[in-house]
């Protein structure tokens, strides 16, 4: 399947665009997405943290992704 991913902050700088597509096997989880991401974009390893949001909620490692989900990379937040 191909999922579309939103990027913000330093994640957008690393990807070079505010959205991008990634091919993942059907039934892939948040953990799978992170693994693919680190392989394709090793600069993510240097971040203090990287969370994945699924439909505007924090996903956990086992959360399963589908093409219909709104998926976003959440690098370390710094509000306030």
């Amino acid at each position: 399947m191909t999922i579309n991913i939103l990027t913000f902050g330093i994640a957008r700088d690393i990807i070079g665009s505010s959205t991008f597509d990634m091919s993942l096997p059907e039934g892939a989880s948040v953990a799978d997405l992170k693994q693919h991401l680190l392989e394709q974009y090793p600069r993510f390893i240097s971040l203090a943290s990287l969370m994945i949001a699924v439909n505007a909620e924090y996903g956990v490692e086992t959360t399963i992704l589908t093409e219909k989900d709104e998926i976003a990379l959440i690098p370390p937040v710094a509000g306030g």
Binding site: F8, G9, A56, G79, G80
Partner: protein
């Protein structure tokens, strides 16, 4: 009662306070963030805030709801900017009213501490000679 706003600057301190002040309260506590003029002794020119807006609003609403339940406060308002801020301008205002002032202090501090940990908002510090995404690296 919860009032969440994510808007372009400037924030209005009075508007945030007015949304929580009530004669049912004995006290209201307000936290006002300000853009500091330096970071680690390096002068900051300006800050740029961006957010994953839908999620930021929902996370701020969760924090406000948790504060009401955890500390039995009456009303919580959380207002945050997105966009460019100059030195001395205000990125965030949190106002909490409560029957008892101790609860208002605890709830207000809980809200700003949690906001900084969980709300998907990012801040870029712009210096004379470069820029940095705050907290991005360990």
């Amino acid at each position: 009662m919860i009032d969440i706003r994510l808007t372009a600057p400037p924030l209005s301190i009075a508007a945030c306070e007015e949304s929580v002040l009530t004669p049912d309260a004995g006290g209201t506590v307000v936290f006002i963030g300000t853009v500091r003029n330096k970071t680690q002794d390096k002068p900051v020119m300006r800050l740029e805030f961006e957010a994953y807006e839908s999620m930021a609003i929902s996370e701020m609403a969760k924090i406000a709801q948790q504060a009401i339940e955890k500390f039995s406060v009456l009303k919580v308002a959380i207002h945050h900017v997105i966009g460019v801020l100059d030195i001395g301008e205000i990125p965030v205002i949190i106002a909490v009213s409560a029957a008892h002032r101790g609860a208002a202090f605890d709830a207000c501090e809980y809200c700003i501490d949690t906001l900084k940990q969980t709300v998907p908002i990012w801040k870029k510090e712009v210096f004379e000679d470069g820029e940095v995404w705050v907290s991005a690296h360990p």
